[in-house]
């Protein structure tokens, strides 16, 4: 599905990613964990096409195509979706209109005819029921005045409607109470199948109780310092990130390993 090779990125003069290597196959769920400031969110944002970051080295191949070469909308149309950590409020634009524009943009890219208003409504109604999304919510402006939980739920709802091949959840669990967390997790569980891949970026192990990952990677100081199966989450839960930090810090200093 996606192959990230030796990815280096910076913002202004600050290096953030320092040689990420990661391969995700179809049907796999990968969790990316790590302490604050390790570069987890940066990685998610770069995959979605955020231009604030400058990729200085490396490559990302998505379904055989050069991802880094694509504009954000092309990435979305090719099948990448990122659930935002902080979904943006867009006053004056209704959720329905927004989602219909997005969906028809993707359909057009795939050579499919646009859905008319009736077809679109029928289609989203089904997804709304699954996530328990209120009709009023989608008539409101995108994320405007939404509670934290509503915003996150709206992200998962968008994911279900747009039906990407690779979903990236950027700290979708942050700020959620346990009930909202369960709704989000069940949305992801409904979504994933043998053709879809998911990247779950999270600080906490909590979400992984509901979305079982096939692999867990620990990101620290811009590199993946440890990878393992789902049991790694419990290890981190018990011991925190300190042990991994110490191990990594005592290994070759990252900057010098390159020079």
């Amino acid at each position: 599905m996606i192959e990230i090779k030796n990815l280096w990125a910076k913002i202004e003069d600050k290096g953030i990613l320092k040689g990420i290597n990661l391969t995700i196959n179809k049907g796999e769920v990968h969790a990316i964990m790590g302490p604050n400031g390790s570069g987890k969110s940066t990685l998610a944002q770069i995959l979605a096409g955020r231009e604030t970051y400058e990729v200085t080295e490396g490559s990302v191949t998505f379904k055989g195509k050069d991802l880094l070469d694509m504009d954000p909308e092309i990435r979305a149309r090719e099948g990448i979706f990122m659930a935002f950590q902080y979904p943006v409020e867009i006053p004056g634009v209704s959720c329905t209109y927004f989602l219909k524009s997005a969906l028809n943009g993707i359909r057009d890219h795939k050579g499919q005819p646009p859905l008319d208003a009736m077809e679109f409504l029928a289609m989203i109604r089904e997804k709304m029921d699954l996530l328990g999304i209120d009709q009023n919510l989608i008539n409101r402006a995108v994320n405007e005045g939404f509670s934290g939980g509503e915003k996150k739920r709206n992200e998962i709802f968008q994911m279900q409607v747009l039906n990407p091949d690779l979903a990236i959840l950027d700290e979708t669990d942050s700020g959620l109470d346990i009930d909202a967390l369960k709704v989000v997790a069940s949305g992801v569980t409904q979504f994933k199948n043998s053709e879809k891949s998911v990247i779950v970026v999270t600080h906490y192990q909590r979400l992984l109780d509901y979305i079982t990952p096939d692999f867990i990677h620990v990101l620290y100081n811009g590199r993946i310092v440890k990878s393992g199966g789902k049991e790694l989450a419990h290890e981190l839960e018990d011991q925190g990130y300190d042990r991994i930090k110490n191990e990594a810090d005592s290994a070759l200093p990252v900057e010098e390993s390159i020079a």
Binding site: A48, G49, R50, E51, D71, P72, E73, R75, A76, R77, F81, M82, F84, P87, V88, I90, P91, G92, V93, Y97, F98, L99, S101, A102, L103, G105, I106, H109, A141, V142, Q158, L162
Partner: protein
Amino acid sequence: MKSDHEFLSHIQNEYDKLYKSNSAPEWLTKVRARGIASLHQSGLPTNLDEEWRFFNFPSIYGNEFSIPDGTLGVTVTKAEIEKYTLKNTDAYLLVFLNGRFRKDLSDVETDEKNFKFCTLSSLSTAGRLPFDNLLVKHIGLENNPFTELNSALLTDGAYLAIPDDMRLAKPVHILHLTTGSEKLAVSPRNIIAIGENCHATILESYVGDCADYFSNSVTEIVVGESSIANHYKLQKESDSAVHVGTVYAYQHKGSQFTSCTIAVGSKVNRNNVHVFLSDENIECTLNGLYLGNGKQLIDNRTRIDHAKPNCRSWEVFKGILDDNSSGVFNGKIYVHQDAQKTDAKQTNRVLLLSDDAKINTKPELEIFADDVKCTHGATVGQLDGEAMFYLRSRGIDYKSAYAILTKAFAADVIDTISIKSLKEEVYALLG
């Protein structure tokens, strides 16, 4: 480049040539004479006048515009008018070509009793001038020399008298088209007198397809007691035109007036809007939307007078400026000593889409009553990069995302337009 004085003597020459020996109705001769006399007295404005600081005067004074004598033999067919009329909307249509009424292009058959249109040129000399007590006189608080210029060169315009208790089933569309190969100065004048307990919707639109011309319009609206009036002005002059447009509205007791001035066309545009709330319990919504690109200048000056207690006014002007365009917003709210419990809110928000676009915004509150609520606010910003990324990350292309966000910015102004097809037309201007 000519000075304001030289321009005025040019106007005097044109005036002498056309109107001195002309057998116009007595009232018209009087209005013109009064206009030119006032002009000589007050002079034309320059950038030294505070209210005209940012205006581009060479675009007017630097040209020898000629005053159209008749419609200049220009032929325009009804089919050609269609691109300027409201789509799928039944309306009373009055078409003025180069400042003169054209019945053949209009659609003024009225099925409503007692409601008649009239054009200024067709008013007879007999009797009292039906609008003598309307014409600016009441609200001549703001000395605007371009109104005098309009009077001096007046040829024709719409005169609409809506009798008491009439609800118009259709909007009235007054269309002023300037066309032909000459450098013209046209002076459209519209007078709209709405009686008591009426309901009326009026659209005036200004369009053109000839090269340089100068359109200097004046519209006067009187809204009678307890009447509801919607007024829209759509300025879509040709790209090289200069448009100075002035709207005066005089509201009587308990009336509601909603106005939206939409400015899109012309290279240089000045919009003056002056509403006078003359009595109690009046509501006034005064909106504007100005869209600039290229090197356009759109200069807005508004004034709302609260003369009596317990009135409310809401004013929202929004500008979207791209390229090297510039905008001006100068909005005054004048609360007279008597106008206690006034509730007035003014907002000017501007979206600058390029580094070279600029806006000068200046709110002015003059308050002489001590128990009022008046607020004003101005914001200038750029398109929200976060929102752009959010839309694009969902598969919406850059151009569409841009259009979605600019439409959303202008939505609260556009959504006050009650004519559906006009609303759609204005949204379509944003991509």
